[in-house]
Symmetry: C2
Subunit: 487 residues, 2 copies
Amino acid sequence: MGNVAKSEDFSEWFNSVIKDAKLCDLRYNIKGFIVIMPWAMKSIERIYSLYCAELEKYSHEPAFFPSLVHEKSFSAEKEHVEGFIPEVFWVTEVGTAKLEERYALKPTGEACIYPMYSLWINGIADLPLKIYQRGWVWRHETKATKPFIRGREFLWIEAHNVFADKAAMEKQMPEDFAIAKSVIWERLGVPFIFLRRPQWDKFAGAVDTFAMDTLMPDGKVLQIGSTHLLGTNFSKAYNITYTDSTNKPSSAWQTCYGPGINRIYAAMFSVHGDDKGLVLPIDVAPTQVVIVPIIKKGSEKEVNGAAEDLRTALSAKFRVQADLSDQTPGFKYNKWEQLGVPIRVEIGMRDIASGSAVIVARDTGAKRSVPLDKIAHEIEHEGKEMQKRMMEKSSAFLTCSLELAHNFDEAVKMVSAGKMVAMPFCSEGMDGAECAKKLKEGSSCDARGVAVNHAGCKLPDTHSLEGKKCIVCGKKANVTMWLSRQY
Amino acid sequence: MGNVAKSEDFSEWFNSVIKDAKLCDLRYNIKGFIVIMPWAMKSIERIYSLYCAELEKYSHEPAFFPSLVHEKSFSAEKEHVEGFIPEVFWVTEVGTAKLEERYALKPTGEACIYPMYSLWINGIADLPLKIYQRGWVWRHETKATKPFIRGREFLWIEAHNVFADKAAMEKQMPEDFAIAKSVIWERLGVPFIFLRRPQWDKFAGAVDTFAMDTLMPDGKVLQIGSTHLLGTNFSKAYNITYTDSTNKPSSAWQTCYGPGINRIYAAMFSVHGDDKGLVLPIDVAPTQVVIVPIIKKGSEKEVNGAAEDLRTALSAKFRVQADLSDQTPGFKYNKWEQLGVPIRVEIGMRDIASGSAVIVARDTGAKRSVPLDKIAHEIEHEGKEMQKRMMEKSSAFLTCSLELAHNFDEAVKMVSAGKMVAMPFCSEGMDGAECAKKLKEGSSCDARGVAVNHAGCKLPDTHSLEGKKCIVCGKKANVTMWLSRQY
């Protein structure tokens, strides 16, 4: 890193951190496809574990659906197909032969999964059905790709739920929020707002889309996941019908949920990182503790031995490495700080003599000497304190970036300064689309939707916006709309 | 299940068990592609966890490489490309446009990964490099597909290692065996033989192929994973070169390793299952303990309450379900036996009164009453004993299926009876290919290779085969070749 200040040039910082910590390699020879390197993949696997466990806590079950989707399955839901077809990669040949039909590389699971649901769901006893899949999908994005944030292949989870009625479907929305909160905020320390997207910005084929938006350090919002109420749109298109208690066939009600694992990872390291590099939450850090021996002339054997013993002792509780390489302590400090390892332990002859070691917190750099017989406890304590500090900091950043705007110019100014802005707006229905378009054209600001919940931040009191007029068209404002620049 | 005896018609048993326990759905509308259902996927996820942890214990690190491979990357290693191209699915279109170049859906990782390794490896300090990826690949198999055993999309792990010299490369072979043994045999109870494949049957582009072969209940062998010594074939083709200590560029030495997760799962449930259905090893059973309340008139509330309390108490240690549905106990026994849940707990009024419950082992059906205050301990003990019994049984089956043959007719007879047969054979080199071909034509038997190791079985003493002549051509036999029918 060295010379790139996150606060001054976030984009450059992002690129540097990816390169220096070897998070991914951008030199793969197909545009928009990246190789995810071990240091990132280890954290990503942990994020998957946390998310899958939380989904299962809420009665979701894992399954595996194929990556290829028959073209005819794709065409059932008209809006959906129109939304996704332009981005589809098509398989048309096998070996040296041309296929008689085209297969889509799955850009999202609906067209793949719902024909199966149609077979599986018959009676009320088959509901609710709550299934998720971890994996990756492919979309030929036309916007500029950006590592972990926008790729033509990306890692995610998709959950697809089916319910007997509208009320049951609607309850899934707060549940999806709760799942996101417990992982993204409580474990990864990434705060977010949960917004209902305006009607003109919903998922192709959905009745309503809700999304988790977090604010990146450059003041641009990143959608890290979304949940869609599908109503009966897809169940009618794919014939997902159950026989109700009166023996009549009813269309089922559906939701789908897509936490973007690559984006969650990107948000996590972007929100917590500093000018030295990554700062990783202790739950998902590949290495939680690194031990650096401080060697004076002639003490190498004894100090390295003590470092190795300490590594062995701490391994029962933590993911630990001892860096016994030939580099200087300063070099090692830099290296492990860049990689974001939460706790560094320094041990030298003086420490050995006094039966202690020095522990250093990655976020503050604060050092303190702790007795060796209490070090596991002290590290655990420091890890928890660090997590708290990281959450306070990320929460403060988002909370302080939320503002109210009472007129167009004020809104634009605030958004340009990297804020997320709440403002009076005529409508989140299709009749508001024209105002959103004007806003976008005049300011590059996007209407992100109406806040329905939030995790890890405090929303400003929007009382003063009530009864005001839409800041674009001047008509009666029916909603408080959040505005921002976006990825 | 009911009417299908595994020993009489394994193929029919296999299909029934898949259907009755809902392991996968074969009705997906692209041939050779299956949907893996939750009950199977939960075990498969556990198999992944075990395997990935074991790979990491041996210093492998996870990474993610793209699913699409540029055609030009594919053409570098001639034998490899000839071996795989006939099975490749090609992406040729995007949205409504034709691509200028074709992308292969990855049938295996070499052509995707090695161009990156070429960039990553420069000096001796970059070696060894040991990376794995969990995921799935696509091969347009022309042989008949069979669920979990041969599909056009299948789940696996692939590890790709790079070393500085031949000796280091060769050490990876026993390490790959050790990793397989600790998961496939020690945790899943599936015994296997580790064979060096004859030269005419090796991986396209490899110097030597070693494979884990297990025997399915119908006496046909299933390859559940393989490890390939690539020598410098691929490093020369993909320019994976490092500067050695004398500052000269050297080609690196490579191995790759592919445990077939779908096949390992298939072998596991095939080897252990019985005429009632699945019998799952306790480490990977989605539910380890099912509690069935035994309800007499009027006792419903009390007994269901006790079952629910027991579920809560046992949840700290096991994956437990209490089946409180309205079905009869007999129906529930059948259901959970079909699903292979290792331990059933029965609890009724009499048990409650005596502070006990009955535990039933899935494999033997043996019942015993245990005090409630010791039940967790007793279940743990029973689980371990069951694992031992399952391993003894599967080991005995494979060991008893291994025979020696001293002449062609004897070999064919034994293989037809479902045995794996060791016999004197002229050569495992290309000069033995003609004899293998004759053997195949005359008997449908395949020469699987020379045993280099084994896990969970005892090989017969092959002493009596020494100094004999090849049972096909009558020339001097240089090797003891294993013969079998195969999947």
